[in-house]
């Protein structure tokens, strides 16, 4: 196991280095990718433009630029973004926003997905099962940005209610207003993600219900409740844990959209703004951070998997 983890960590490092080179090159060959021009603004003199290029190191060779960037990544002083603020400061401000959003999202996903998945499996082919499965199909088809838009517009038109979206409120400043701000977007992301968790729970549950040990448990005369909750559920949740872990990475994409709609000043909105303003220095840094999160999540999922299912032994 230890050997396996060591090898995986080494592999991950290689992968991250590859990712950094890829992103670095991709954003360098992009047409119109001139951070200095954008930083300089509309009233830009040639003099100031060249000074900025010099300052940002854009005239250096790619190798020098790449070296400079990796040094920034390691030391954590990430330079300035297109607004003139430091990236470090922005991250410190924005990271809690995205983390809170994702935590509520995961909670919602599991709270909807797992119970309905179980019910759907237990009462297979019942009207309830049909409704749940149909709900899952719809849930996978409906775009989250549309749901979010309707969630903002409908209460506004009908009751003149709008969640506070002008300024992002910290949880510790005002818990109630903070939740009013974070819960609607998180519920939307969570509900959409719940569809696949629901399907997975259902099929994993059905798979397990036919196993011999369940028949044995029933034959012993255990109650349905005990068979389902203590025997079947435990094993059927193993794949659910895996997929939920991997879904968190996907939710980062959802966060870009949802933070934009609800005007949450999180990392997702930062990424989108950086892309729109073509501040590729920020884009490549954020991309690499996402890469790190993805790699760590994958590793965590694999280790959890082995821990949950003692039959799995990596060699």
């Amino acid at each position: 196991m230890q050997q396996y983890i060591t090898r995986r960590i080494l592999q991950s490092v290689v992968m991250l280095v590859a990712l950094s080179i890829l992103v670095f090159l991709l954003l360098r060959v992009a047409p119109g990718a001139d951070p200095a021009r954008i930083r300089c603004g509309l009233t830009c003199t040639d003099e100031r433009y060249h000074a900025l290029r010099q300052e940002m190191g854009l005239d250096d060779s790619y190798l020098t630029q790449y070296g400079h960037w990796t040094k920034q990544l390691v030391t954590g002083s990430l330079g300035h973004d297109w607004n003139g603020g430091t990236v470090q400061h922005e991250m410190r401000r924005r990271l809690p926003v995205t983390v809170e959003l994702l935590l509520i999202t995961i909670f919602t996903t599991l709270a909807i997905g797992v119970p309905f998945g179980i019910l759907s499996a237990i009462f297979r082919n019942s009207p309830l099962d049909f409704v749940v499965r149909f709900g899952a199909i719809i849930g996978l088809a409906v775009p989250s940005f549309w749901l979010a838009t309707l969630m903002l517009l409908v209460p506004q038109q009908m009751w003149g209610y709008a969640p506070p979206i002008t300024k992002t409120i910290g949880f510790f400043d005002s818990p109630w207003n903070n939740l009013r701000q974070f819960v609607p977007p998180a519920i939307i992301l969570g509900a959409v993600a719940a569809a696949s968790v629901m399907r997975l729970t259902r099929s994993a549950m059905l798979e397990v219900m036919w196993k011999d040990y369940i028949r044995t448990a029933r034959a012993k005369g255990l109650s349905d409740r005990s068979v389902i909750l203590r025997h079947a559920l435990k094993n059927s949740l193993i794949p659910v844990v895996t997929v939920t872990g991997l879904q968190i990475a996907g939710e980062l994409g959802g966060a870009v959209i949802i933070e934009n709609i609800f005007n949450l000043q999180g990392v997702g909105k930062y990424f989108l703004d950086a892309l729109v303003f073509k501040d590729y220095q920020v884009v490549q840094t954020l991309t690499l951070y996402v890469g790190v999160v993805v790699v760590v999540l994958n590793l965590a999922v694999d280790v959890t998997y082995a821990w949950l299912d003692p039959r799995i032994r990596y060699s």
């Binding site: 940005f145 838009t149 409908v154 939710e251 790699v295």
Partner: protein, 304 residues
């Protein structure tokens, strides 16, 4: 059965492939139609949408960009079934026209992505060795990376036109396809018909093209259909974020304008979004049914 499950697990976990098999069907009685009512509904939706996209200029009551076709922000009525937007444009006509970009980009992107992904998967699976390791690691990396972020970067790097959008979405699809196809090729490679071809002196390209490729076709078609909805959704998301095709009539773009519009007008946002949902629903119902029909292994698995 267990091995099959574990073979498929990674594909299910990929962010792009969320159209995992669902519809567990009752025992197959007779007739594909009777057996796949949802699939037939899906196919019907797709056919209607394609017809709408093709004939939009003939059936739309107004030009999509005709200003003041009616009063501004009108509610749905007989003359404007979906209401109007802030400039008095007829939303019904705009939704009909929106099908064009959506379907065209979706279909072309999936076609491009599946072809490229299949080629990569075949090469990786058949050649093996260092090339396989290289492609597989690249695919691993791309699959676990959030698809939308990848797509946004590609879109921004390549610029804005139908062609670049198709290529960007296609590239985002490639890794998922390549992984599934590679798995299939690896299992096909050791079959006797391949050995026979090798013994007969067939060249590697010949074996790949005439022996392996046809046997991977069914799988590629299944994957392709299941990705259509994803591609449509991807285009809509980009358009919604203002990073689609500029100045084109798109569903995602209209939802975005309705979100920012003032005063608030719900029908304006409702209908284009519902069109996206309906399209994705149609593709995924049809894709699931096709998977059931074409992939016998999944069929037996689903019987439990």
């Amino acid at each position: 059965m267990t091995t099959e499950l574990s073979d498929r697990a990674p594909a299910l976990a990929s962010p792009l492939d969320w159209t995992a098999p669902v519809i567990s069907r009752r025992r197959r009685i007779s007739g594909v139609v009777r057996d796949n009512p949802l699939g037939v509904i899906g196919l019907a939706i797709v056919v209607v949408l394609v017809l709408v996209a093709i004939s939009a200029p003939f059936i739309a009551p107004y030009a999509p960009d005709q200003l003041q076709a009616g009063p501004k922000l009108a509610n749905p009525s007989m003359s404007h079934p979906f209401g109007t937007d802030d400039l008095g444009r007829d939303m019904f006509s705009r939704v009909l026209y929106g099908a064009r970009i959506s379907l065209m980009v979706g279909l072309l992107a999936v076609l491009f992505g599946t072809l490229a992904g299949t080629a990569l998967g075949i090469i990786a699976g058949y050649v093996g060795g260092v090339i396989d390791a290289f492609i597989s690691r690249l695919v691993d990396m791309a699959i676990s990376f959030p698809a939308l972020l990848l797509l946004l970067i590609l879109r921004q790097v390549m610029g804005a036109s139908v062609k670049t959008l198709v290529v960007a979405i296609g590239i985002a699809i490639i890794p998922g396809v390549a992984r599934v196809v590679r798995g299939e090729v690896v299992s096909q490679r050791n079959n006797q018909y391949v050995e026979a071809a090798i013994v007969l002196g067939a060249s590697t390209p010949r074996i790949l093209l005439f022996h392996i490729a046809p046997n991977v076709m069914a799988l590629a078609i299944i994957v392709m259909t299941s990705l259509l909805g994803t591609a449509v959704l991807a285009e809509a998301s980009l358009s919604f974020l203002g990073l689609g095709i500029p100045s084109a009539v798109t569903w995602g773009g209209d939802v975005n304008r309705a979100r920012n519009g003032f005063p608030v007008h719900v029908p304006w946002a409702f209908f284009p979004g519902a069109a996206i949902a309906l399209t994705v629903l149609g593709f995924s119902l049809f894709g699931d049914a096709l998977r059931d029909i074409l992939d016998p292994r999944l069929r037996s698995r689903r019987k439990n």
